[in-house]
Symmetry: D2
């Protein structure tokens, strides 16, 4: 099934980074893929990103990845982006071809950790664009995990030489100046691209005010992100900040590296998005103290949202 | 001048990680050292930590480091801990001897990035303890920067074999379970040590509830940390969370790696603690957009604190 | 086709790390898989290791990996070890099951770069052993690439708790003391394991004298490794050193990180083992100067071997 | 005492990276500084580099560093380069001023590990050049240790914008193409700089043939380096290779990371260059097996050199 629509530079809103649900024994939980898609869409997702780092993509066999792509693209009514990062171009191409044939709207590629110099980074993504052919793709900029630093000039060079690169997944930290610089380059004539931001949503407020088009991250409350995006676009900054601040204590708690995924899945399970909070091994099991801390944070969050009206 | 008191396992409260103030031309700002000490103490600091990573210690010459130690220990009425991490034991010893002669209460040592295995880490700190002699010292656990991972068992082995190690500066992320495990080991008979927490204060609330004794970090509002420590010890958790949440949006903004120090110094200068926000080169200069974002966050913080009463 | 024999602790000699041959357009060169197997066996290989780091495993699609396993196990008359390192246990298990069904003698697993502490490393490999079931496996210790440091104690703990781990691929650098320590532990009662060494053969002479059982590396002249192993076991150390030294200038040249694979494939193609020297993208193309340097080194090596008689 | 001559772009030959000798109790061995200088000069050193990574600079106190500079510049009749890498520009400047006042011919600076992008690297060294003023300096390119990758374009940009940068210490691995590219840039009009090579001498033969001006490394037999430099310049490549190959087995053994310094000091002590092989803690103590391996390699090396005539 080819995609209804292909991803392009006008993408905006909230592309939720989707979790991959598992049964308690670690097997893929196929039913939960459906309920999770429904959950995200009902809470304002304008797109979905699957098989990313947070989606435990590395822990899936090739066959399982195919099942996830099929099921999510079949269920979703919004565009689906598929993470296809792999050590070699052959693997990227094979995965991307599979994804696009099955209905994805585009793919996402992160740089391998071996890249260091500007030329290496640019050269790598130009090869990626070549093997991807006509497939639209997202450049993932996530230095904390990839250890690859891309300057605005490097990103711009990639965008200029690769017309099929339509979006930046922005996850540099600190990264606010990078958004401003990229938008300034566009004001001076460069092709406009979509910028969706990660970092668990922790800087979404400022990212939007700097010129981002939305969020691409997996915070367990997509409705917060949808609302902050909507309010900042409507220039209701005060209300946007109120909403953002109400969710911040929990967002912060969910941002703990490694642990964060388990917390996120716990909340998604609690909210009914998926049936089980299982993280595939090797992974983390939450302690009783952690579960209690989450409950307290959720309770306070709800009280504060209620007070906001 | 020897220290009025030496650091020991009963240390608690807020040991502020002090900035090092510079004049606009990059020279050491000696007058501001005094005003900064006064500022921190007036806002609840129960100790000061100087010449740490955040204190730009690496950018000072040996002579300048000596001046900072002298001035701060002379001015402070609370215990002063001096960061003495260095590539070699000779450098650590030289720096520690200088610090203690001039009135420091103890020193702090972080592991060099080359350490990997448990045995390497334990062996390194046992050598450190040996060269430090009777000087009380703080073990700095900051994997995000040092790239050295210490398990609770490793920390405990160091504590058991080095009686002069009286405090853990806890800055693992995620690190809440580590606090719980260390306290459990103590409940089972291990020597009790002081645990003061870093991470810019972003998890201070939960850290206190897990058993920490306080904070050792440089957030530009030490009064928040003092209040959260006081309230959690008084078991007024609700109020502690209200205070914590009020400061969280700015704390989050200050937590941006690299950029954070410039933000912190800007706020300290704005609050009158130091005369200039200068960061020594190589360092960051804040953009107009960043300065504006800080102003907004401060204004909202003040409004929220006012509403709290 | 199940393996004729399973890998066990008695393995010795030269397990050549096999290259993966490609056609000039980058497609898998299936015919060359046969000629390469014949080449290695004719020059003294007592085993083959496929789909390792040097085998460009990360650049193959899952389907291509299956083809390589099938073809090599069908052709080889010596045991075949298959590299199955993957980010998740599910991927490791799927790959290992495929390999063993198709006739492999065992599999090899390297630790993911995220492991740091002793407990993390031990825990990881115990999970690996559990999912591998009865499949014999090789523990790959290659800190320069994996960034994971395993002490002899950690390796011994893994060996003790995982009876299916039958071999250490030793590639620490420096690693001679590690071999001595592991053999000493065995002299004191620990289970004896096979130790085959990597590092491009650059330390094979000393490794054998410290107690290794042979080599597992991809130097383009397997006959050197077979001869050094034979001579050191026959206690003809002088002759072993003469042979080793004759090959050392080229071995050194082939040891250049990144570039080394292209050099190795160039020599393998020149020697008729494979039809083309192609390295899959992203990879290196050798300059004219490099090709000339290789020719000079080969000519001198041949002259020196001739002089040796 | 100002330097007799300042370092400039015509530097060539062998700048030995000098060890720092210690007494058995770890104190600086000042007498050995003299004998070491004499030893290096008598064996063909055309310059000396002190307080580099291999010189255990990080393990010296500031006072000790000053003593080493004084003693070596007083004794040496060849130019002395002083390593002044430090986390901050103030430290670099203080150290460089001290070195130049005391008679150094120039200083050497390596990039801090935090630099990643081309612009960060260029910007950093432009600041370094600015604070160094008129002092001639050497750019140290050692990615295996610094983790900073500099392309030929980046190096060229630094050379073009910083006329006081007169030499590249080349220690990339693989790095032969880099030398060729830099020399090609010069043939096309760029300013010619001196290129001296590191890597323990392991690629000196090819480095000279690619256009290097000599070696800057610490192999315990400087006479090998002097001879290979002389012979390649005299275009006696065959003899140069014979000499190089004779030393290669030991050079390889000395190249083991971490361990190498202890091996080097052991040989220097054995050869009478320094009184004791002591490495300052934390450091390595050589095992009996290692000492025996060194003896065997030296004996074979001597036999081979004798056979060469």
């Amino acid at each position: 099934m080819p995609a209804k629509t292909l991803l392009d530079e006008t993408a905006q809103g909230v592309f939720t980074i989707a979790a991959t649900p598992f049964l308690p024994d670690g097997a893929l939980d196929i039913e939960s893929l459906d309920s999770m898609v429904d959950f995200y869409e009902a809470r304002g997702a304008t797109g979905l990103t699957i098989l990313g780092i947070m989606g435990e993509a590395g822990k899936l066999s090739a066959k399982e990845s195919g099942i996830v792509i099929d099921r999510v693209t079949a269920r979703a009514s919004v565009p689906v982006v598929v993470g296809v990062s792999a050590p070699g171009l052959a693997g990227i191409k094979a995965m991307a071809d599979t994804a696009m044939e099955r209905g994805a709207a585009g793919v996402m590629v992160a740089p391998p950790a071996t890249l260091r110099t500007d030329d290496q980074i640019i050269g790598y993504f130009q090869m990626v664009a070549e093997v991807l052919g006509k497939t639209p793709w997202v450049l993932q900029d996530f230095p904390l995990v990839t250890e690859v630093q891309m300057t605005p000039r490097v990103i711009r060079t990639i965008m200029d030489s690769c017309p099929t690169c339509v979006m930046l997944k922005h996850e540099d930290w600190p990264g606010l100046e990078k958004i401003s610089t990229l938008r300034r380059q566009e004001a001076e004539g460069a092709r406009r691209i979509s910028i969706l931001c990660g970092n668990g949503g922790m800087f979404l407020l400022e990212e939007m005010l700097r010129g981002a088009d939305g969020a691409m991250t997996g915070f367990a409350y997509p409705e917060m992100m949808a609302e902050v995006v909507r309010l900042t676009k409507a220039e209701d900054e005060g209300r946007a900040r109120d909403v953002f601040d109400a969710y911040l204590p929990l967002m912060r708690y969910e941002s703990q590296p490694g642990l964060g995924l388990a917390i996120r899945k716990h909340i998604l399970a609690k909210r009914g998005a998926i049936a089980h909070a299982t993280v595939r091994r090797p992974g983390t099991v939450l302690s009783a103290a952690t579960l209690e801390e989450i409950e307290t944070l959720i309770a306070r969050q709800e009280a504060r949202l209620a007070a906001l009206g």
